[in-house]
């Protein structure tokens, strides 16, 4: 049996490991456009100079040899011939018995800007993006980042660490609006400002002004114009499915998959950001594992789908957010804070529907279980801030813990 995996990110690598664990003699080929395996979540550490190319790899040096995987690197996939079971790549084709598409996603660009191919507009999703940003930033003076989400703030952090003073623009009134409430976001914003960043929040972009093929300024609503000689687009991403144009693999935004992560075509699976199911690393890994198991003939379903969860760590302040960051109607809120610690719990009836923790996140993993499994906490008989796994404690025969509800 020959398994071909397109993409060497979280899902692709997890799938390859799983296939090797289940099938010691099957052939495994990974095809990737990148020529260095890297973790997207560490690209800012590369730009800032804190890590080199090898330092942002999430696999060991001997990964491909140890797992007997053939890696076709630096090759873009041009299309898939599903009738003849071939992956067409630059200058050749790779036959497959089972195929996993794990090509990830691409940065998107504001509709009224030139494409990301313009000389001074950058996305931040790949090592090649990080390299381009690091190089171009050397001579840039007026760097603008559009989008104050996790990618935008990663870019801002990295650029501030190499002496740049980027301006971050977002239409929301706060930074990290999808992940944090205003209080926790403001804590970070102060640190970013101290590091040389400045913010334009609650404003729309009217025009990206170009001159000789390069962006030279940004016009905001109400007419304000900001000079710009380098623009980082951090407004989101869309699944990497361009190479499937004209193919019979069904897509709806991302590649359409069932709970087995199978596509509409026999023997073809998809996992990770390319499915559009979730943009979170652990979920991509589980999708890769699930698809791989099915590729090896061991039926598995992708069940742990909860994706309203994230962590971040800027300037040594860690945060975790789960579920809602702001209460809705019928929710109640409990807050506990001191000068460097913040805990906000959003409750609805006996359930925890949202959690924001900042500063001290020690031993906080149980909160994810409470939120995603909609666990009733009313029987716990204590303050919500004192909840822990002890209140749902169980031990299985083999010594693993289990939740007792």
């Amino acid at each position: 049996m020959k398994h071909v995996i397109i993409g060497a990110g979280a899902a692709g690598i997890a799938a390859a490991e799983t296939i090797r664990r289940l099938r010691s003699n099957d052939e495994i080929v990974i095809i990737s456009a990148d020529d260095a395996v890297h973790s997207r979540c560490m690209l800012h550490n590369f730009i800032s100079g804190e890590r080199d190319e090898k330092g942002i790899s999430h696999i060991s040096d001997e990964f491909f040899v140890k797992n007997n995987i053939r890696w076709v690197s630096g090759k873009a996939v041009e299309g898939i011939d599903t009738a003849n079971k071939l992956v067409r790549i630059t200058g050749g084709a790779e036959p497959y018995d089972k195929l996993l598409i794990a090509t990830g996603a691409e940065s998107i660009c504001l509709p009224h800007a030139q494409s990301l191919n313009a000389e001074n507009i950058f996305g931040l999703r790949h090592l090649r993006d990080a390299k381009a940003i690091r190089e171009y930033a050397k001579q840039a003076k007026n760097i603008i980042i559009i989008g104050a989400g996790l990618v935008g703030m990663d870019a801002a952090y990295a650029l501030s660490q190499i002496g740049k003073k980027p301006v971050i623009i977002d239409r929301a009134e706060q930074i990290l609006a999808l992940n944090l409430d205003p209080y926790a976001a403001n804590m970070y914003m102060q640190k970013f400002e101290k590091a040389g960043c400045s913010f334009v929040l609650g404003r729309e972009i009217n025009q990206v002004n170009e001159n000789a093929g390069k962006v030279d300024s940004i016009t905001l609503n109400f007419g304000q114009k900001l000079p710009c000689d380098m623009l980082v687009m951090a407004i989101g991403s869309s699944p990497s499915i361009g190479f499937l144009a004209g193919s019979d693999i069904a897509c709806n935004g991302g590649i359409t998959v069932d709970k087995y992560l199978a596509t509409n075509i026999n023997d073809i699976y998809a996992a990770g950001d390319v499915t559009g199911l979730s943009g979170i690393w652990p979920n991509a890994v589980k999708q890769g594992e699930t698809a791989a198991s099915n590729m090896c003939g061991q039926p598995a379903t992708y069940d742990d789908t909860f994706a309203e969860k994230n962590t971040m760590n800027y300037f040594g302040i860690p945060s975790i957010s789960l579920g809602k960051v702001m209460p809705g109607s019928g929710d109640t809120v409990q807050v506990r804070k001191d000068k460097d610690k913040y805990q906000k719990i959003i409750l609805n009836g006996g359930q925890v529907v949202g959690v924001v923790l900042q500063g001290n996140i020690a031993h906080s993993g149980f909160w994810l279980q409470l939120v995603k499994n909609e666990i009733d906490i009313s029987k716990a008989n204590k303050s919500v801030f004192n909840l822990s796994f002890a209140d749902f404690y169980g031990v299985k025969e083999d010594g693993e813990y289990m939740w007792v509800l």
């Binding site: 979280a10 997890a14 973790s39 997207r40 979540c41 560490m42 550490n45 890590r51 790899s57 999430h58 696999i59 060991s60 690393w281 652990p282 890994v285 589980k286 594992e289 969860k309 994230n310 962590t311 971040m312 760590n313 040594g316 302040i317 860690p318 975790i320 789960l322 996140i361 020690a362 031993h363 906080s364 993993g365 149980f366 909160w367 994810l368 279980q369 716990a380 008989n381 204590k382 822990s388 796994f389 002890a390 209140d391 404690y393 031990v395 083999d398 010594g399 693993e400 813990y401 939740w403």
Partner: protein, 151 residues
């Protein structure tokens, strides 16, 4: 693999296990227990004993899970399950301090190091000793013991 088994009903909440863990992992020149600085964040324990709402002791120790959520969540390759020993090992030098593992541990066992918030503090089975882990050797009540389990 070997696992530290937990029998919560035997736990007396004495925290001998936690002190032994701190002593085993202290970074200063190891002396006797008496010289262990309990207030030094560098000496923090990898295990802890929680109380539930009925004031019952519930020891919290890393399970080195068969399907470790912390490993699946790790985007730097710092958290790995050793296929030979079964232990989940953390490589502090590789860790990118994203703390996805902290969020993902279903029992809230692991945590960032208190002194620097830059790597994960977790059980390593006192592997440098080659003997039973120090917490187990220190337990007087039979609440924790080592057993070979199938994975």
């Amino acid at each position: 693999m070997k696992r530290i088994m937990v029998d919560a009903q035997n736990c007396k909440g004495c925290k001998n296990c936690s002190i032994a863990c701190m002593q085993s992992h202290r970074k200063d020149n190891p002396g006797g227990f008496h010289s262990l600085d309990l207030a030094d964040p560098a000496n923090e324990s990898r295990n802890l004993i929680l109380l539930n709402g009925n004031d019952e002791y519930k020891p919290l120790f890393c399970r080195h899970c068969a399907q470790p959520e912390c490993v699946k969540a790790c985007m730097s390759g710092a958290m790995e399950k050793d296929s030979k020993t079964g232990y989940v090992r953390h490589n502090a030098a590789k860790c990118a301090s994203c703390f996805m593992c902290v969020m993902s541990c279903p029992y809230g066992v692991i945590k960032p190091d208190r002194a620097t918030n830059s790597y994960i503090v977790k059980c390593d089975f006192c592997q440098q000793d080659g003997d039973d882990p120090c917490c187990v050797k220190a337990c007087r009540s039979g609440a924790i013991y080592v057993k070979e389990v199938q994975q």
